[in-house]
Symmetry: C2
Subunit: 576 residues, 2 copies
């Protein structure tokens, strides 16, 4: 019902010419015009889900007097990973549509790293029949690195058939910028097959000749800028600047000074990653508009960066504006300071009212996805490692960051010659268990900074390959937490005293819950609270844990293949 | 050699990273950056016809120090009919490329009205291997009207296969706006088949509900605005405003007040129709830039409207900017007031120098086109018409315009009962002879305003069906001029005393010469001078003549089917 329809041209023309009634007329609106950068009073006539006319004197089967409220085009998020919301698409839609978002461009990078093309297809399928357009950029980096075991390997020719899908717009963020610069075959193949389509970039800190090379191959956007200088260099070289405000990476305040009347059409808003807590508390693209205006941007410019600029970059011709021929995706705003959203329309149907979804999310019970936690039967002894030396490496957390330090400690705590956690010195055992192929492959290390005094916490969210990762104060709890994740087919778990004390099942690829975002958020908050009761003083120990297996971020990380030291770009032994 | 190549990504990356020399480096340039709206000093590195990098410190096999001259992207004309230049594509390229034009979007409407899809294919074929990108918008209105006989009838399904050509961008100006508004089947079919492609508009004076309807079906541009109010309404409704400065229609000064920093990305430059005289004397898009700046527009904005804005509207990803990955189509400017163009580069090769082409136009001698003047053998008596009444209709020219008045006169001059021209009263006989099917169909009328005292002038350029049109002071000269056009397979001719005194052959569809534009211009000027010697005081009697068979322009016109009165939308008899 909400998917884009074949236009009934005949009826559209008759409605526009006032020869028959519109389905819906919104009267007495203050139109935010993103083409002319103006606001003025008018009416909007809708026919079969599309805008037939903008002007006065239209009659409709339904007529709504908006009493001078503002109407903006539905908002667009130009780059995000829905997986970060831990919600399936229909639940994500239920959450963000009342915030005015009616189109998103997703890169299903996380689920693809677990499930491959099956994961991408799952996202495409579940994107149908919700009042939210979901366009897909194909994940370009699966696996993200060869230093860990991902659930799939997507070569250029694996992606190629999916490029033909009408909801697929191009190639997702090319994170492998070293691969581009070093002219690696498969990376260049992906770029060549995407020629003429949109290719998104991801090039933090890349500058000068390297940046020129990265752009010259056709990559025309970046969402990793953290300061105006970096963004200005990229914009001058023709990149579109996606200004990001995610849960962990907040660049709006830093980048807004870049934007002026002369370059604004090159800039637009994205969230990249927003967790359930931020989505429910702050909102989505509406939050970026609100924040940008509070930082001094004029409201029409903010709306343009949330609508037409994004649509134009992606070549979307029917969204991003309130004008004849566009989808009737509309946001009704009470004011232009707080941007209170009183109504949201998708293809002419009211789907959001005073912050609440007023549509029934599509049922996707018929779309089944295979289980993703495929682990070889583990026994307690599999988690043990012989202490072969008095000196051992330690991953050291850096407070508030996802980088780590690499240090060496002496006198490991042992039991029967096997290394065990030493909570007194905050030297905790950490394990990563390959979960895609049942290979039994496992990495074991020691980490400092979690400060747990009791129990173990485990997760199947571990960027980017999303193997099982677990940290704990003793082998029994580590074992129990990991087994719990296998039993529930993914998610988060906490074990204490050899028993599971709480868990959040994420049965969809071990990344996504099958429940309301509110429930997920509540469970997440419970589990963070319990972790703190167990001794941790981290803001969100599960979030921190999810980056400890990411070997592309310095310095010492643990994957299912072992300890990896990015400074020497080599695997290293736990014991020296 | 100039057509867009498959990128050599490997080499491009190495050049950008300074790992090998560029083919060409333009050093010490003042770059006009259309993304950031800035001008700053830098260098441009070119590899295999594309820009590999913009930045300092590059080395090239060839290095050119531009000593601080300005470099802009190659200019783009967003809408034109090359046929109006009376030059084949390669000759058109030789003329405009030195003026900085490196990309044009043409609507081969004229040749299609004569030759149908053969004409379109001919334009596509001859567009290859010149240093000028020629993109095609498919003519949507062939024939333009049912009131005259055109050389082809292109239905939606005739156009459909051509939409697949990589150089075809969409559907050309939908002049038949009454057809859209009245929901005529074939017009809507063309719009439906073009869904998702670019659809250009042509909607002079269309406003309000009609304009909404016209835009709602997907038409996203207009080049017929003549004042700011009209343009503002269209822009607010989402249209792109093509600001036109043609030979007969000059809208730049009138529309420039519309453009501001907030809406400029919706506006760009087109010429629509430029004759050889204006092209050679004034130039092309460079002339529009120059004039816009002289009218007060800042130079960077003018360049944007001549480059990136046009490219973005048409979805062209490799032209319109000087940045990595773009074609190395560059214009070197000595200054930003007179915009003297000292060099033009196409795909990194110097193709224009100080206003002269420095390339060899492609030879298209192997591309043959059938003759287009297919006329049933005519005898003197075919041109005669019995004077059946004392009252007869007269087409009255309106000085300086293409509209006419319809008047009635008495006492026709006759010979043997047949109507003849009456030069004393300036009541001259005008004939239109169908030239496509050899049908023998012919219209005969009387026109006032040409003021010829001797001879006859004839042309196969007669919008939009381009039948033979001739006006003269006696039947013998009319006969001779028409026969001359048949003999030379189209063009212009002047006959005096039963002899041809001058002629311009236009063997390509009866519209286009097969010689240099300079020769065509010189011949045109000769023929206008001779026409004036024969008594006419019109600026260009051939230009005026070419609009006398155009029945969509009020009020009284003559086609091969007879006299057409647009005020009653009916054919009328010569004699009342």
């Amino acid at each position: 019902m909400y998917s884009r329809q074949e236009m009934n041209m005949d009826k559209t023309i008759r409605v526009a010419r006032k020869q028959c009634k519109a389905d819906l007329v919104l009267k007495n609106v203050q139109l935010i015009n993103v083409f002319s950068h103006e606001i003025y009073p008018t009416s909007i006539a809708v026919s079969e889900g599309m805008i037939a006319a903008v002007g006065d004197g239209y009659e409709g089967e339904t007529e709504i007097d908006l009493n001078g409220k503002y109407v903006a085009p539905g908002f667009i998020d130009g780059h995000l990973h829905i997986e970060s919301s831990m919600a399936p698409v229909q639940e994500f839609a239920r959450t963000v549509v009342p915030h005015g978002t009616t189109t998103v461009i997703i890169d299903p990078h996380e689920i693809a790293n677990v499930m491959g093309t099956t994961g991408i297809t799952y996202m495409l399928k579940t994107s149908k029949y919700n009042p939210l357009n979901v366009y897909v950029m194909l994940p370009s980096c699966v696996p993200a690195t060869p230093m860990e075991t991902a659930g799939a390997e997507l070569k250029a020719l694996d992606l190629f058939p999916m490029l033909q899908d009408r909801w697929v717009l191009g190639l997702g963020e090319v994170m492998n910028f070293p691969g581009v610069l070093n002219r690696e075959g498969d990376v260049l193949d992906k770029l060549k097959l995407s020629e003429g389509r949109i290719i998104d970039g991801h090039a933090p800190g890349v500058t000068g000749p390297d940046l020129n090379a990265y752009i010259a191959v056709g990559i025309k956007s970046d969402h990793e800028c953290t300061n105006v200088e970096e963004a200005r260099e990229k914009l001058r070289l023709g990149m579109h600047i996606m200004i990001r405000e995610g849960s962990t990476t907040k660049n709006l305040a830093g980048l807004l000074p870049l934007v002026n009347q002369d370059n604004i059409s090159q800039c637009f808003f994205v969230t990249d990653d927003r967790d359930p807590i931020e989505l429910l508390e702050l909102g989505h693209i509406d939050h970026m508009i609100r924040k940008a205006v509070s930082l001094g941007l004029d409201p029409i410019s903010a709306i343009r960066m949330a609508t037409i600029n994004t649509a134009k970059y992606f070549g979307l011709k029917k969204v991003g504006a309130v004008a004849p021929g566009y989808d009737a995706d509309l946001v009704v705003l009470d004011d232009l300071e707080k941007f209170k959203i009183s109504q949201v329309y998708k293809n002419g149907e009211c789907v959001g009212m005073d912050g609440k979804a007023v549509f029934e999310p599509a049922s996707h019970s018929n779309i089944r996805l295979r289980g993703s936690v495929n682990v070889k039967w583990i026994e307690h002894e599999h988690l043990r490692i012989k202490a072969t030396s008095n000196k051992f490496r330690v991953i050291d957390l850096v407070p508030g960051q996802i980088v780590t330090q690499s240090n060496v400690e002496s006198d490991p705590k042992t039991e029967d010659g096997f290394l065990v956690s030493d909570p007194q010195r905050d030297l905790l055992k950490i394990v990563v268990i390959e979960r895609h192929y049942g290979s039994g492959q496992m990495g074991i290390g020691v980490i400092r900074g979690f400060k747990l005094k009791k129990g173990a916490i485990a997760s199947t969210i571990a960027h980017d390959s999303h193997n099982i990762i677990c940290v704990g104060v003793n082998d029994a709890d580590i074992y129990q937490a990991c087994v719990q994740l296998v039993r529930q087919q993914g998610g988060l778990a906490i074990a204490v005293g050899g028993e599971t004390v709480d868990s959040l099942p994420l049965p969809i690829a071990g990344l996504i819950a099958n429940q309301s975002m509110e429930k997920t958020r509540s469970k997440l908050e419970d589990m963070v609270r319990i972790s703190k009761e167990l001794g941790s003083d981290l803001g969100n120990p599960f979030m921190t844990l999810s980056f400890m297996a990411l070997p592309v971020i310095p310095k010492l990380k643990l994957t299912d293949k072992g300890l990896f030291d990015l400074s020497t770009f080599a695997f290293v032994d736990l014991f020296l």
